[in-house]
């Protein structure tokens, strides 16, 4: 039996619970695979290392991790690889030397452009926008923000990005940061939160302060958690990939490695029903383009994840 550990940033996060659904689906499809769904309760690198150590001791066959810190986990994961465990990262990546491949949920450039577009679509005259991110160290968020910044001058010249703040994926901190943005930038037209925790906090602040219609909240959100804010108008539209697909693909890739697949630049590995993943020169690849939710489809998707 193949044992694949799906290590998440923190337990209890709806996004990761959904990913676990997909992982179990993959396990069922593959047959002789057991998925160990685990992770720390607090999203810290130290706690995640303890989890990884325990997995190494159990001699699992593969570890698929969404990392809390791209660098801090490298030594522990390297040790895992030394003991013959296949290591991939997904969602939030690990530095290349700490994993065999990385599965991006979507194309970084595309996501960066999408989050700005979501705001720009509802700002025909342009205006001030701000970004409320997760932890300042979160690899994926940082990459998206860079991509977004790069896209603005060419494609959205009338959008003015005034600030980037960090809510650490903590609802209280995110709430405070969102309030700070609104207080500091009276002309703010949109808050872009490329994180499922931050986007809910920002939408709640906008709702509480009666700014619906004035400040549009957008970003990456789980439909089930975010539906009410589309409904009440605090947000026009948000985007996300399907976490179920992501968990599914991660397990499929890990299994492929266990069965002898080679991770190398240019190689293609199987993601089951999600198709093939082609690796770039850092051994990373993208799963699928992001998907936009708005009033027309949120109802339907909120029932799924």
């Amino acid at each position: 039996q193949t044992r694949i550990a799906l290590v998440v940033k923190s337990l209890g996060n709806g996004f990761f619970d959904a990913a676990n659904k997909g992982a179990q689906e993959a396990a069922a499809e593959l047959g002789d695979v057991e998925v160990i769904y685990t992770g720390p309760t607090a999203a810290t690198a130290e706690a995640q290392i303890e989890v990884v150590n325990a997995l190494i001791a159990q001699q699992v066959d593969a570890i698929a991790i969404s990392a809390n810190d791209p660098d801090a986990l490298v030594p522990a994961l390297q040790r895992a690889m030394e003991r013959g465990i296949k290591v991939i990262s997904w969602d939030s990546g690990v530095a290349p030397e700490g994993r065999q491949l990385h599965l991006n949920p979507s194309d970084i450039g595309l996501i960066g452009e999408t989050i700005i577009k979501l705001a720009a679509d509802y700002l025909p005259e342009g205006g001030d926008v701000a970004i409320l991110s997760a932890a300042s160290t979160a690899t994926n968020q940082n990459a998206w923000i860079e991509a977004a910044k790069a896209a603005i001058p060419e494609k959205f010249p009338n959008i003015n990005l005034v600030s980037v703040v960090y809510g650490d994926d903590d609802s209280v901190k995110s709430t405070e940061e969102a309030k700070g943005l609104i207080a500091s930038y009276p002309d703010l037209k949109a808050i872009i939160a490329p994180t499922t925790v931050g986007v809910v906090a920002a939408a709640q602040v906008v709702t509480d302060q009666g700014l619906i219609g004035k400040v549009n909240v957008t970003g990456l959100a789980l439909p089930s958690e975010f539906k009410q804010f589309i409904d009440n108008g605090a947000s026009q539209a948000v985007a996300l990939w399907n976490p179920i697909d992501l968990g599914y693909a991660a397990v499929m890739l890990a299994n492929d490695l266990v069965e002898g697949g080679e991770a190398a630049p240019g190689a293609s590995l199987s993601m089951g029903r999600m198709g093939e993943l082609t690796l770039d020169d850092t051994n990373a690849g993208a799963m699928a383009p992001p998907f936009t939710f708005d009033a027309s489809n949120i109802e339907e998707f909120s029932k799924i994840y």
Partner: protein
């Protein structure tokens, strides 16, 4: 000057004013009444928690488990609301107070009956309560979509220009003021802290008084459990993680002596507001929020130094000629 230092509430009030003035100088919108009310509202939960903590610290004890109690009670009430949206909110709030008080009573019993030092007891329950949040929730979050609109809306309802959350804080503060100054239990809390031996001679049961202090702190933490969850509309294991020290910091800044027996409701309220103002001011004046922690640390240290100055016994004076000094 000595007089002034003695009335540390005034001192603290001036310090808060100073911060307000400084911030307003750079950012005029900050001191607008609307924003000040927002700060008050934002600080409400901290104020209530700090008052509860004060009751405990007065008796020479400490409650490190308040934030975990809050998280546990909050999760219980959020799950209850998610499962039975029909239960009226006031009933849920009453339930929170009872659950919180029960958790506090658990601390209290260990301190009272087994005489285990409060710091050990609450260090243990700090982790136990938070672990239980995970156990009852299975780690799952309860999010806005699962909570009923009333559950979320109650504290946001506006009465006489103030959100209900602020009113909660005002009512709790008033109750504490009456408790602390006008009831035998409140005075016993002070007496036990000032001189436990003398308390026994006065007919006060020291252990039992500490027990009540923990129950009070627990009840407040329970109430704040509901308020916190409905404010940030997410119930998770990590709710208010590490907040126990912020609560204690508010007390210390507010002039509560960690050695027991000294502290006032007004001081604690101001201590909490001081932290609230700083937290709100930093993002507004565009100081990186990364400065926030160091600033509140410095504020705590300054407060302790000033406190110690004020408390330091004016040595009993033997020399008659020195009496005027």
């Amino acid at each position: 000057m000595n007089r002034l230092l003695k009335h540390r509430e005034i001192f603290l009030f001036l310090a808060i004013l100073l911060v307000l003035v400084l911030v307003t100088a750079r950012f005029p919108r900050f001191a607008q009444p609307g924003n000040l009310l927002t700060i008050f509202n934002d600080t409400s939960i901290l104020m209530m928690l700090a008052l509860g903590q004060m009751a405990v610290i007065l008796t020479r004890s400490i409650d490190l488990s308040m934030a975990s109690n809050l998280a546990l009670t909050g999760m219980v009430v959020a799950m209850t609301n998610a499962a039975f949206p029909g239960i009226p909110i006031p009933l849920l709030i009453a339930g929170c107070v009872v659950v919180g008080a029960a958790l506090g009573a658990f601390n209290g019993i260990l301190v009272w009956k087994l005489d285990i030092p409060p710091i050990v007891v609450t260090l243990g329950t700090l982790t136990i309560f938070r672990g239980l949040v995970f156990v009852i929730s299975g780690g799952a979050w309860v999010n806005a979509a699962q909570m009923s609109p009333d559950f979320i809306g109650l504290q946001r309802a506006v009465l006489l220009g103030l959100p209900l959350l602020s009113w909660f804080a005002i009512v709790v503060a008033a109750l504490f003021w009456v408790l602390m100054t006008r009831t035998p239990l409140g005075r016993a809390l002070y007496a036990v802290g000032v001189n436990p031996t003398a308390s026994v001679y006065t007919g006060i049961d020291v252990g039992k008084t500490k027990f009540y202090a923990f129950v009070i702190a627990g009840a407040v933490a329970g109430l704040c459990g509901y308020l916190w969850i409905s404010r940030y509309v997410i119930a998770s294991v990590e709710v208010a993680g590490g907040y126990e020290l912020t609560i204690i910091a508010a007390c210390v800044i507010g002039g509560v002596s960690i050695a027991g027996g000294i502290g006032s409701v007004a001081g604690v309220l101001l201590g909490a507001i001081f932290l609230g103002v700083i937290n709100n001011a930093l993002p507004v004046i565009n100081i990186s929020p990364f400065w926030q922690m160091a600033i509140s640390g410095t504020a705590i240290l300054l407060a302790v130094v000033l406190n110690a100055r004020g408390e330091r016994r004016r040595g009993r004076v033997i020399l008659k000629t020195a009496e005027g000094v």
